[in-house]
Symmetry: C2
Subunit: 335 residues, 2 copies
């Protein structure tokens, strides 16, 4: 039986929510990942040191095993130097949302006035706090990410020492930025390595494949696969796994978000094996992130086996991507 072992897998973009949902989903990530960058878009968003610390405690309390590190983030606002210095030790990054662009992002940035943002971003640069960005404008749904490239350029050129991570990129336009600016990095989800808009609305409409940014065109998928499969040194895995209650997905006005955390490594093995690139998966799913963020994750060794695996209809009430379908890799052991 073909197996593949991953060391210290990291999910560098994860939504764990709070309360009951946190308790339902955190153990699933903690089981197979050494650590995850935990998004701050709760209601209200995590925006001070006390909230970071308290949220981290709640995450750890929800996790049964002790070899999982929640890397915490702060919700971007214009903060002053004193504040940023006081919170720097508690966080790994600050996450910037354009206002209203996705789930729980209402308090985000409403205009990218670089002079207004300069004090915050300059201190972040000085303190070496990376800036994670949800890069979408409020334009036409298929153009939102590409339209955001000029803002990435503005940020990258104005703060050349600031590490800027283009989160969950979905377009060739974003891929092309990686080699253009030294300080631009990216995360890529597993679902954006599998889907185009065709999968979402090309046949029947598929709420469990609906996410933001929405899956794009075939040429975008090709560009994403290209840098992921080669484990481009500036690209990291980030699932953007986003749990919603089943009723919020399967109703009129379905919420955006795909739940992949418990099947992400299995799907990544399937994809990388399909393209004969399994040897690059370790870099994509861990080593690149360790180097980019300068982190040393908890030891974890995950061995996957190539055998049919029926994806459960739900995990603690949350419907995963490919629920009820059979994928070709399964987790065998976690040490």
């Amino acid at each position: 039986m073909k197996t593949h072992t991953l060391l210290m897998p990291l999910d560098m973009h994860l939504h764990l929510r709070d309360a009951v949902m946190l308790e339902n989903v955190a153990p699933l990530s903690a089981y197979s990942f050494s650590g995850a960058l935990v998004m701050p878009n709760l209601v209200p968003p995590i925006s001070n040191a006390a909230e970071v610390v308290a949220y981290k405690e709640r995450v750890l309390a929800a996790v049964p095993n002790d070899n999982f590190e929640p890397y915490m983030t702060l919700f971007y606002k214009n903060y002053d130097k004193t504040f940023l210095e006081s919170v720097a030790d508690e966080i790994l990054a600050i996450k910037l949302y354009p206002a209203g662009i996705t789930t729980n992002s209402e308090g985000g940035v409403s205009s990218f006035d670089i002079d207004e943002m300069r004090p915050t971003l300059q201190v972040m640069s000085d303190l070496q706090i990376p800036l994670c960005v949800h890069g979408e404008t409020d334009g036409f749904v298929m153009d939102r990410e590409a339209e955001f490239m000029s803002i990435y350029e503005l940020l990258a050129t104005n703060f050349p020492k600031l590490k800027i991570i283009m989160e969950h990129i979905t377009t060739k336009a974003a891929v092309d930025m990686l080699d253009k600016y030294d300080n631009l990095y990216a995360t890529i989800t597993v679902h954006h390595l599998l889907l185009t808009l065709d999968d979402v609305v090309g046949g029947m409409m598929q709420p469990h494949l609906f996410c933001k940014p929405i899956a794009k065109r075939p040429e975008d998928l090709d560009a994403l696969l290209c840098v992921a499969l080669e484990a481009h040194p500036k690209v990291m895995f980030g699932s953007d796994s986003a749990p919603h209650p089943q009723h919020a997905k399967e109703s009129c006005g379905c919420a955006a978000g795909i739940f992949t955390a418990p099947i992400a490594l299995q799907l990544l093995c399937e994809i990388f094996e399909q393209f004969n690139k399994l040897e690059n998966l370790q870099d994509f799913v861990s080593d690149n992130a360790q180097r980019i963020y300068g982190i040393c994750p908890e030891f974890k060794e995950v061995t996957l086996e190539k055998r049919p695996f029926a994806v459960p209809e739900n995990y603690n009430g949350v419907v995963p991507m490919y629920a009820g379908e059979t994928i070709s890799w399964a987790i065998e052991t976690v040490d």
Copy 2:
């Protein structure tokens, strides 16, 4: 109170289904339209004279009033001359579906081999039977209609006397064809004069705004509005109103189709008034179709009034577009 009167409104692309659904929806179209071109994609599709006659009888039996004409269509296959001559008097047009491209289209055309199709299309041309076409390839969902333009060109140039109606067009590419080939015509739905993909998946996912062909880009909407509002002489209104049971729309794997029949004239008044083009609506919704198809519909005078109208949550169990929302025109009298 502002009013607007329409004479003999025609819906030149309508799905009435069969059995209980037919009984639920046919009266709604018959109330406000003088006639409608009834699509043949039942299961199995309408593909001989006896089926046409029987279906027409079932439609008429479902309609309470006697001033509504169901113009019947046949499902396109390669038919011979004898057959076409025998059925010509029973139908107004033949509807061509690429195989599997939309609801109940499995028996459609799987390859556009013009030599295989020539006998049928030449006889249709000779007998002056228009060809209505669902113009989509099986390509990427946003490109399917534009990719089909080469097939329209092939059909239009090989059969210059055949009237070819590009059904429910959604793109600037299709609009541009109207002035390029004398024998190409088009229908446009009311929902494609209102929606882009943004409305379907740009915010929450909206199953009741999901249809095939899917709503496209803002520049496509602009192009459609342009020819509809000017009542381009080769453009007709066709609702493509497509009823599905509520459970089939509001579930995983939601079916494609928007139900607009009972609110189409109200929405058209709203759109045409908004752009100060109410004087062109009569051509768009009736006179162009009368001239193109050479039909003299039953007399009907529909007067609409500009006043708030709350769209019902459902009509006989079928959820319409904009259910529960308030639109700005209502039907006042039908004579």
